[in-house]
């Protein structure tokens, strides 16, 4: 009955913060950017050992049940420390399988996800069917109609780290595929992210209307955890900038004593502080909607389809607010560090670049604002 993290949840966040703070995540990111995924994989395993991936997996598959609030706690820390790799996509894939409830693919993939053995990328064509050559089919929303796709292309969305993941789940039309391959790997503005369009051939893991219902849920999970990551990244950008402007002197005083600097950072904090309850509100809504393993909350006055729309609204609101707050923090961090912030000498650049990418990943601000008002996925 209380909108506060409990002691256990807070301690979980602190544990992750300590572990990640001791690891050289910036080094892992720089390695990941040149396809050396070794250091990143080690971090991944430690996250699994601390139970992060199990949070999306039912108990019968080595998980701890679906716990969106704990996932949000974890992903704030992943964002704060800039962990590379398809963390969001792997959890979304697990959420998809769990919601699908189909025993065969669940048994095959979920235990490995829970224990850290599987890195899964994930792409969703939002109801569009795509030919095996990657060209769009005709029953979709057409050119530019899906997020994650090239606005001019219609060749389907990019999948994050498809070339280094163990598999890429693709939802195309009403089929769930394990993709056989992918197109050329494209660098992102965020060096920790490498993008490729998955091939639309591959093993069919499931098909039918249940796939689309489950993928709809998975997209909400992905958006909500991207919001949590963005919140963590924004917190880090703000914290590092506060530290810097306290030390850096110009005109004989700390830069942080200039009112223009102090007010810009105050505004960055306001945006982050008000994004945070939306991020956790979305997690509570997801927990309530799924009504399953981890139910610790419920939504007021929303039932059935109305409830699903309400969840989608909460998630979209969190995504807009956290994405914009993090990007605003990135802009402030860059400006207030001055030239040194514009270099790759500081790890700061990794978060600045990530904040831009997370702003659009799994729902652009424009798409999410539309969802806030309609409660609908504009792509279905």
């Amino acid at each position: 009955m209380t909108f506060l993290l409990d002691d256990e949840q807070r301690e979980f966040g602190r544990t992750l913060d300590r572990m990640l703070g001791a690891a050289d995540i910036a080094g892992a990111v720089r390695a990941w950017a040149v396809d050396d995924t070794g250091p990143g994989r080690k971090v991944w395993q430690r996250l699994a050992d601390l139970g992060v991936f199990a949070l999306a997996v039912p108990e019968e598959h080595a998980g701890s049940g679906f716990l969106p609030v704990e996932l949000a706690v974890a992903f704030v820390e992943l964002g704060r420390h800039g962990v590379p790799g398809p963390v969001v996509e792997t959890v979304a894939a697990a959420a998809l399988l769990r919601r699908l409830g189909d025993p065969a693919p669940s048994a095959r993939w979920l235990p490995g996800i829970a224990t850290g053995g599987h890195l899964v990328s994930y792409a969703d064509t939002y109801g569009e069917t795509v030919g095996t050559d990657g060209t769009a089919g005709t029953d979709g929303t057409g050119e530019g109609g899906h997020p994650g796709g090239d606005a001019g292309g219609g060749r389907g969305p990019y999948a994050l780290d498809a070339h280094t993941a163990d598999t890429t789940f693709v939802v195309a039309g009403d089929r769930l595929l394990s993709a056989t391959g992918h197109g050329p790997v494209q660098p992102s503005l965020d060096p920790a992210r490498r993008l490729a369009r998955p091939a639309y051939g591959g093993e069919v893991l499931a098909s039918g209307p249940a796939v689309r219902a489950a993928s709809r849920h998975a997209v909400d999970v992905a958006a909500s955890l991207t919001a949590a990551q963005a919140l963590g990244a924004g917190r880090r950008l703000l914290a590092d900038t506060v530290t810097y402007v306290r030390q850096r002197k110009q005109f004989g005083v700390a830069v942080g004593s200039f009112q223009a600097v102090r007010h810009r950072l105050a505004d960055a904090l306001v945006a982050l502080e008000f994004a945070q309850p939306l991020v956790f509100g979305a997690a509570v809504a997801l927990a309530a909607e799924t009504g399953a393993d981890g139910q610790r909350g419920r939504l007021v006055a929303t039932e059935g389809a109305g409830r699903a729309a309400a969840v989608r609204r909460e998630v979209a609101a969190a995504k807009v607010a956290a994405g914009e707050a993090a990007y605003g923090a990135a802009r402030a961090a860059l400006q207030l560090h001055g030239a040194i912030g514009y270099t790759d000498e500081l790890d700061l650049s990794l978060w600045i670049r990530k904040a831009r990418a997370l702003r659009t990943a799994w729902g652009t601000p424009s798409e999410c604002r539309a969802r806030v008002l309609t409660g609908q996925d504009i792509f279905y």
């Binding site: 509100g281 909350g297 939504l299 607010a321 604002r369 008002l373």
Partner: protein, 389 residues
């Protein structure tokens, strides 16, 4: 972590909703910045109080229901969703009462609170002076010791509601030799009809007398109307800023109701394909939701005994900017009709959008300008050096 409410709290919600549905006037009361409107709003306070809805969070002995902060939030949601009248008692309820609960004597509580709850006594605040706005510690008005009380002299300004209110509260310099400017102040309550008080109404932006200047010339105040210790007024006034008052100055229900009304206006009048407007409407919805959830988290923390401290400064900036953005969006949505004053017969929704815009414009200025709030955030929440501002 949970956003649900206990079944008893939901019962409370339905009780409030039912009562409001039966009692809220069908057409808005006249503006409370007019004599006629002030009287009508005072009467509305009496109606609220008659069924113990005027001060739900107060103890029953003073006219309240002993409601938790969570229930207060629920009440406010219902209140604004019902488009119930603005609260002419707001100054007393949200500024003076928390201070009395923290520092008042039992006798003061018993004497002051019930007529405040009933609207019998409407309070004005008397903080600012011509030379002491953001720099509140520069107050010059004096309280001079006299037999059985104090004599107040000086000038107060931006005294909201004072054009029509009954009594006022504020800080006065009682110990001019104190070593620092914010020491040596005393927190006093006084009668606006007392000998020596001259009230000069001041028109706000739209000309309505929303506040007044007070000229005080040896106005006698008995000792019983001092709150806390003489000379400790600054501490008394500030001590409640970081607790519930930071949360309750502007209730989330006000903004969620406004955002809901904006969405309705948008559905009714806007082109749904106009994404520029759509995005701004969505931002208002997101902002109101964020403010609601932030308050829920704050209420939960207060319930555990935490103090919110300088977080009320975050709150102040957020709601004041949200309020302006929301009303600017509404005016833009209305096109040429958005230019109409709230008093125009043809102004949409009884002029509530224009009135709301005018009201919102004051938000970043009063209760500590947003510039002062950003300074507080920088220093107390971010740990940045104090700077000269």
């Amino acid at each position: 972590m949970d956003l649900g409410h206990a079944p008893q709290d939901e019962e409370f919600r339905y009780a409030a909703r039912s009562w409001l549905a039966a009692r809220v006037p069908g057409t808005p009361l006249p503006s409370l910045e007019t004599a006629e409107g002030f009287a009508a709003h005072r009467e509305w306070e009496r109606t609220l109080a008659a069924d113990r809805w005027s001060v739900v969070s107060w103890p029953e002995e003073y006219g309240g229901r002993g409601a938790s902060l969570a229930r207060w939030l629920i009440f406010e949601e219902e209140y604004y969703a019902a488009q119930a009248p603005g609260r002419v008692s707001q100054n007393g309820i949200s500024l003076l009462a928390p201070t009395l609960f923290a520092h008042g004597s039992p006798a003061q509580l018993a004497r002051v609170l019930p007529p405040m709850a009933s609207g019998e006594v409407i309070w004005a605040q008397a903080w600012s002076e011509p030379e002491a706005g953001s720099d509140l510690a520069a107050l010059r008005s004096t309280a001079v010791r006299t037999a059985g009380g104090w004599l107040l002299s000086g000038q107060k300004t931006w005294s909201s509601r004072a054009a029509f209110a009954d009594r006022a509260f504020g800080l006065f310099r009682s110990h001019p030799d104190a070593d620092r400017p914010h020491r040596g102040l005393t927190y006093l309550m006084f009668d606006l009809a007392a000998p020596g008080v001259t009230v000069r109404p001041i028109g706000r932006l739209d000309g309505k007398p929303a506040f007044a200047e007070l000229f005080l010339d040896e106005v006698f105040v008995p000792d019983e109307d001092v709150i806390g210790e003489p000379g400790q007024g600054w501490r008394v006034a500030m001590s409640t800023a970081g607790n519930e008052r930071g949360l309750t100055l502007r209730s989330p229900g006000r903004f969620t109701a406004s955002a809901d009304r904006l969405v309705a206006l948008w559905r009714q009048r806007a082109d749904p394909a106009d994404t520029a407007l759509r995005d701004r409407v969505a931002d208002a919805v997101i902002g109101a939701r964020a403010y609601h959830l932030f308050a829920r988290a704050g209420a939960a923390r207060l319930a555990t005994g935490d103090d919110l401290g300088a977080e009320s400064s975050l709150n102040k900036i957020f709601w004041s900017e949200l309020d302006i953005a929301l009303h600017e969006t509404a005016l833009d949505l209305l096109g040429a009709a958005g230019e109409l004053a709230d008093s125009a017969d043809e102004a949409p929704d009884h002029g509530s959008w224009a009135a709301g815009w005018t009201f919102a414009l004051a938000g970043p200025i009063y209760a500590g300008t947003n510039e002062i709030q950003r300074d507080i955030i920088a220093e107390r929440l971010l740990g940045l050096p104090k700077g000269r501002r």
